[in-house]
Amino acid sequence: MTRQYRLFTLEEAVNFALLALLIFVILPAMLDPFRLNLFGKYLTYAFVAVGLVLCWGAGGILSLGQGVFFGLGGYCMAMFLKLEASTPEATAIQSTPGIPDFMDWNRVTELPWWWEPFQSLPFTLVAIVAVPSAFAFVIGLAMFTRRVGGVYFAIITQAIAAILTILIIGQQGYTGGVNGMTDLRTLAGWDIRPDSAKLVLYFVNGALLFLCLLAGQWVRKGKVGRLLVAMRDQEDRVRFSGYNVANFKIFVFCLGAAFAAIGGAMFTLQVGFMSPTLIGIVPSIMMVIMCAVGGRHSLLGAVYGALIVNGAQTFFSEQMPELWLFAMGALFISVVMFFPTGLAGLYEDHIRPRLPGLRPRRPGRAEPIATAAAE
């Protein structure tokens, strides 16, 4: 039987291997520690973009609030690191030693109860994934069981991103406010600041990203993945085939949130801080753009999209600060208008047909997405 289920086709396996080669060999060999750390930072956004491929590309659910989950993961990590950096000895000059400095500045005299559990590393590691997923579950449950979708879902998730940002900035005594949580030093006694630690973190980040990619591939290739495509095409038919559509949407939304959260935590570790400017409306849309540039249907494309958009952002803002918004704006418009399937689409249309031994896919492959995203 040729129809037996396989996780990878040969071509996909080769593409996975090429990406692994790039992340684990080529980039570390070519870049100095500073640049490598920068790429590590870009790759933390790839987690979000991969999650978006599942939600948006496969499931047709566009969330404009992925920054929320990225941020929640990042803040969970940051809270742990901040507590570890705020030993009574290190904070002896504060009026209340032993609590984070921004609390002291805001005349908070006691560690709030919800900060307490973040003294524990195991709790923190669980919370990094569990808190954002649970939040996504609540949002998903409320929205998808009531059949809110498409544009409305996008707008509401965007509003949630706005709310979270305002809340974090407004409650600076508990969150560090607009400056975020800075001055993070050690993870369970291990200093995260030197180059050697950053190198380790880069590889950990890459490994986690591949775990997420594999999980994503597994979901997409399995029955859930086909159901997601089916839901995009004919949601009613899926219902009348006996599936509770909402549950599958909630699942994929939570999965996307969990991926984003891992990315957020790795961001905190590699960059050394977390702030509300990284998680609001603008960064959340940027995450969607990364996914669109890479190709909203391609897990690997999302990784390249994250690298390219972030790389372009750094390049333009360094080289021509006045022009970078023009360049980014033009990039988004042209991707949406001329390359709606992103880089992965370019590969499908132009590179793939020239590769030896690969027959072009059957017609009707490129288009159905755009119309399905409607409504």
Partner: protein, 308 residues
């Protein structure tokens, strides 16, 4: 939270905050009307709507400079000239954008969101390059600056009154255009069945362009009105875009009356809360309430039940 206020003072506070809320309401309505046309009627998500509004604000600013320099004796009426120019500027930019970008994306509403986001980045940078990163404010003519003393504790500023009158006129105008004019009928026909509208001889392309242009033009007027109560910066538009979308969605996207009612309730709740809580918490609570209500009633407040 009511400790330390007498009943009379509380009444005055509610009245004054209520009035402040009415100003916010006017800005929301003007922004939301344009969006309700574009999003509600055309299904296009225009993330650059705030930038169209800011264009109107900058046009008003330029206009005030022009009158102050060349026509000081007519300075009192520059605002009315500015409104017209703002409408035309934002409207023509809107039509150009529709022609260049939007019309290629009608079948992909989520993609219009991304493309118009890119557009908003570009416009912001244009404003920054032309007008500088600093916020600019306009000089308000003498006659608009006074205020009406209603009771000892309650006073009502003129510019607020003017703003509200303007809002009412625009809202009435939009209503008449959409529901009482041939254009409105065409717009609604195109939205309900594009192919059919085409077949009965409606120029759908032109209707789309005009509709988008008028929606953007109204945003321009909103920007013009906005200068009466706040200063204008390159990114000021972005601050309002989420609120405005919520207003439109909350009201039920296709209902003008719903848009106005939802703008009213959201702005009133927010400005009354603002007096008692910090501004940020007031905003958080307002948005949260809206979202929770939307989760319970996703179709918005005012929509009809239709046969599928």
């Amino acid at each position: 939270m009511f400790d330390g206020y007498t009943m009379g003072e509380l009444g005055a506070i509610f009245a004054m905050q209520g009035f402040a809320g009415l100003i916010l309401f006017s800005v929301y309505v003007l922004m939301a009307l344009g969006l309700a046309i574009i999003f509600g009627q055309m299904g296009v998500i225009n993330m650059a709507h705030g930038e169209f509004m800011i264009l109107g604000a900058y046009v008003t600013y330029l206009c005030s400079l022009f009158f102050a320099t060349f026509l000081p004796e007519l300075f009192g009426v520059y605002f009315f000239v500015a409104i017209v120019l703002a409408f035309m500027a934002s409207g023509s930019l809107g039509m150009a954008v529709e022609w260049g970008i939007i019309r290629h994306l009608y079948r992909r509403p989520l993609d219009t969101l991304l493309a118009t986001w890119g557009l908003s980045l570009i416009l912001q940078q244009v404003y920054r390059s032309v007008f500088g990163a600093r916020e600019v404010g306009v000089r308000i003519p003498e006659w608009m600056r006074g205020s009406l003393q209603v009771t000892d504790l309650v006073e009502v500023p003129f510019n607020g009154l003017l703003l509200m009158t303007l809002t009412l006129c625009i809202a009435a105008g939009v209503y008449l255009m959409l529901y009482r004019s041939a254009w409105g009928q065409q717009v609604r026909a195109v939205m309900q069945n594009r192919v059919m509208a085409d077949a009965v001889g409606i120029n759908t392309g032109r209707t789309d362009r005009l509709t988008f242009g008028i929606g953007c033009g109204i945003a321009g007027i909103a920007g013009s009105a906005f200068t009466m109560v706040g200063s204008t910066g390159p990114t000021a538009g972005q601050l309002y875009i989420v609120d405005t979308f919520l207003v439109v969605v909350f009201g039920g996207a296709a209902s003008l009356f719903g848009t106005i009612a939802s703008a009213f309730s959201i702005s009133q709740v927010q400005s009354v809360l603002e007096f008692f809580l910090s501004g940020s918490m007031a905003k958080v609570l307002t948005l949260l309430t809206v979202i929770i209500i939307l989760m319970l009633r996703p179709q918005g407040l005012f929509t009809l039940k239709v046969r599928k």
